[in-house]
Each structure stands twice: as structure tokens, then as C-alpha cells.
Amino acid sequence: MAQRKLGRGVAVVGAGMSKFGAFPEMTTRDLFAQAFREMCATVDKGFDPQTIEAIYLGNYSSDLFEGQGHTAPLLTNWVGLSPRPATRVEDACASGGVALRQAVLAIASGAYDIALVGGIEKMSSLATEKVTDTLATAGDVLFEISAGFTFPGFYAAMATAYLHAYACPTEALLNVGMKNHANGALNDKAQFGQRIADIMEARKKSAAKKGLPIPTWANELEFLRDERANPYIALPLRLFDCSPISDGAAAVLLVADELAAMFTDHPLRVIGSGQASDGALHDRATFTAIPAARLASQQAYAMANVTPVDIQVAEVHDCFTIAEIIASEDLGFFEAGQGWRAAQAGVTARAGTRPINTSGGLKSKGHPVGASGVGQVIEIWKQLRGVAGARQVAGDLRLGLTHNVGGTGQTCVVHIFERA
């Protein structure tokens, strides 16, 4: 593979997000404005938003979720940035990560010095079945969806193949959910600000209040094994293996590296960027890896001139628990078939040697699809700058990575950030 370099350096100098969750009272505009305002407030030395030259917006399907298309100029106008060029990027759940990459490339090319990356999705206005159908359009509608597949179904088929190939017990998946909920409980922006244990206790209390028999789960694992508490959605995936339906927005300010010092003394340099594509699931030789993720990460590592062992904190695309395990292998953190063992052994926990999804991941933080890839950057920004609060990873953190997948891996985009 040819080693590609950016034409010039690009740095993150501001990063903010709305809370992720279900917000029936808020519009897409409100959510985006919230993320934009918070991003502006994180620029250490302050800046005039009118110096932004272009906007790249990750948004999967405001059309189907809300009946509103053409969201990039609309939201650009809403935050007072017309007539700047406003470009919407759609690559399913990787829309945010690809929008980031487009802005990186635009600045690296010299076309702009200062660009805003946004991500937005408002999914909760639709009923769950309609959300499932909308997400399904990211698959092959003629030959996958028409057969009755859904996104939980795709990832469940990947899980079935993975469990079989690597003699992985189904319960190994539950560890990922428990870990990500434990992390999300420390994130005030997370949709689920609760550990599984908290959810469990709340259910017990609610049963007691209603005079119903009080469930006897002794621990999180027992709760997650209970078919009534944690029903199957698509075997072997249960409810708590799936990311939720979410509303949310995120915003990141990118500038040419040479200008970064005007904004902050602690920028994050974007030192690696990679992206790859693929066909539908039936075009893959294996379901136990996502080839586009392997390619995208190899490109990013080569550009950054680092190796997987150098990455100290990573936000990966855990739309389903199995996806995090496969991602941890695709990114080269673990050998094929070893990702589940690492998750089970606590290696990927906040205090482990390879922390993954300290934000709570899509599972607990929430998955407003077009915003997710941008939201990942906010966590890396916080971790590398040492401002992640109660969920701060210990040690001198210098390198972080984001991994954002569209569909079942038809798109994958990976970025590597270095604290300057």
C-alpha cells in the first residue's frame, strides 16, 4: 500500500456535543446549536465563529427520520454561518467519521484554513419498527433486506459466525455491554447514565413499588442472562447487545496545524486518516472480520507512522457488542479470535492496558448515527487533554484513535490523533 501523507498538518482545536438521548421536545436545529455552542466554548483562546470557512456535516437520513432533506445549509444557516459552503456527507453510520475526513482533506489541500465538522441525527421521532426500516436502507435493499434481514440480524449473523469460528461463549458479548455501561455511567452526555447494576436495582425497586415479585438477580450477569430482563432481538444478540435509538449532535473545529497556536496550546494533531469501502455482507469471504476496517486502519497507521500497540485510547464503533470485539481485532489490538478473551479479561476496560470506548461507546453513550463518528472525537479530545473527569484514563496519554463503520462494513473510516 502506498503510504499517503496529508498535504499539510491538520489539528483539532475545539470539540463539543449535545447530550445523546431521546429528546422529543428538541429539534435537530436545537441539538446542533447546542453542540456548536459547546464546541465554541472549548476553544481555549476563544475564536470568532465567523472565521469558519466551510462546514462538513455527517447526517445519515434526516429525510427518512424527519422528512427534512438538505440539512447542511439549513443547519449552517441556523448557527449563523451562511453563506459558507455547506456539504452533507452520507455514508450510513459512518457519515460523521467521513465528514471529518472530508474536512481534514479540504484543509490539508489548502482549500480552507478553518472548517467545522458537524454530525447530527434525530431518530426518536419515528416508531422503533420505522427506525429499523430506515437503518435497513443502508444494506442491500434488493438482496439483503428483501430476504428479511435487519441490522440486528446482520450483526447477529456475524456474531453466530464469530462464536462458532473461535469457540467464543455467547456470554463474552455481555462483558462488552457491562463495560460500556460502566463507562457511560461516568459520562454526563451519555444516553444511559447507568451501569447495568443501576438498571437492575431500578427494576427491582419498580417491581417492589408495583407490588410485583421482586426479581432475584444476584449480579449484572444474571440480569443480562434473564430472557425477560434482556430479551433476544436477533439470536445471539439481546437487547443490551444493541445500541439504542438516539438523538444527538456533535461538532469539531479543525484548523491548519500552522494556525493551531492561535486557538489553543493543546491541539490534537490529526496524524492518520484512512477510509475504505466494500460490498454487502454476501460479497465477503468472512463475517468474522470487517475487511474495510482492516484496510482503513492500515492506511491510518501508515500515514501516522504508528502501530496498533502505540494507541493508548480508542473509540470504536460498537453498534452491537460483537462489533466492538471484531473492531478490536480489525484494528490490530488483538489477534483474530482473541478480542473476546481480551474483553473478558478486562483488558479493554478503563483501567485495562487497552481501554476501548471510555465514553460508554455507542452502546451506552448513544448512537445518533450521523453524529456518532464525530462524537467519538470528543472523547479522544477529552482523554488526550486529560479532561475526561471521572472516566479519565490514567497515564501520559498521547495517541488516540477513532473507528467508525457504516452499515455492516460497506464503509469504514479510521483516524489517529496525537496530543501536541
Binding site: T132, F143, G148, P152, G153, M158, T160, Y232
Partner: protein
């Protein structure tokens, strides 16, 4: 999906018709216009025999539109003897009895009712191979 679109796909739906690359012999389902292996555009139709092995599967407890009345149902991926993978519903079997690697065969079944007018769409599903074959 509209009925016209389904009708255009009838050769795939009813006969599992894909393509074979005249230059390198690679076989594809669904059919393609460019060979994924050698990038040739010299592809011709090829009907597959409908037999293969179960590569993976899942049982859905939550259904998309048009499939509500079938829940729970099982979908799977069958690796055809000729090579291509096909995503389809698995039928005529208790999902608990399914095993990765087992022999499967195509059958033509009702896929779902279409929209308000209740038109029924038929197409391929797969079931465990029967001995009579």
C-alpha cells in the same frame, strides 16, 4: 418495494440466476456487471443449483415492515456449492436444530405480502437438504 422492481428480479428470485465471469470463471450471486476478481465486464448469466452449506444464521424476534406476521423467523447465509453467498430466510426447520456447515437447499416460497393490496411476493428461501435430492 414496488412490484415492478420485484418482477425485474424474477430470474434471481425464482431461479437463483447470477453471473459467471467468462474470463476468470468467478461466479456471482446476485448478478454483477463487473467481475470482483479480475474486473472483466464479460459476464454471462448462470443459474445456480441451489445447494450449499449454511455459513451463518440468526433468528429475529423483531421484524422489519412486511415481515411482522412471520416473527420469529430465521435468516441465514448459505454458501452455494458454486461459491457465492446468498442471504435468505431459512424455512422448514426448528432453528435450534441448525448448525453452521450443514447442507442446505433452495425452495421457492412466499416471501411476504406486499403493501395494502396484499399482493404476495414469492422467491427463494433455504431449508436443510432433503434426502430425496
Amino acid at each position: 418495494m414496488d412490484l415492478a422492481r420485484h418482477w425485474r428480479l424474477k430470474d434471481q428470485r425464482y431461479r437463483l440466476e447470477g453471473t459467471v465471469c467468462a474470463d476468470c470463471g468467478a461466479k456471482f450471486f446476485p448478478p454483477r456487471q463487473v467481475c470482483l476478481e479480475c474486473k472483466s465486464t464479460n459476464l454471462t448469466p448462470r443459474e445456480f443449483n441451489g445447494h450449499g452449506e449454511l455459513y451463518s444464521f440468526t433468528t429475529l424476534r423483531s421484524a422489519p415492515m412486511g415481515f411482522e406476521d412471520q416473527v420469529p423467523y430465521t435468516v441465514g447465509v448459505v454458501k452455494l456449492d458454486e461459491g457465492p453467498m446468498v442471504e435468505a430466510q431459512i424455512t422448514d426447520v426448528n432453528a435450534d436444530a441448525l448448525k453452521i456447515g450443514q447442507r442446505m437447499e433452495m425452495v421457492t416460497r412466499k416471501l411476504r405480502a406486499q403493501g395494502d393490496n396484499g399482493l404476495i411476493i414469492y422467491g427463494y428461501k433455504f431449508r436443510p437438504e432433503t434426502k430425496a435430492d
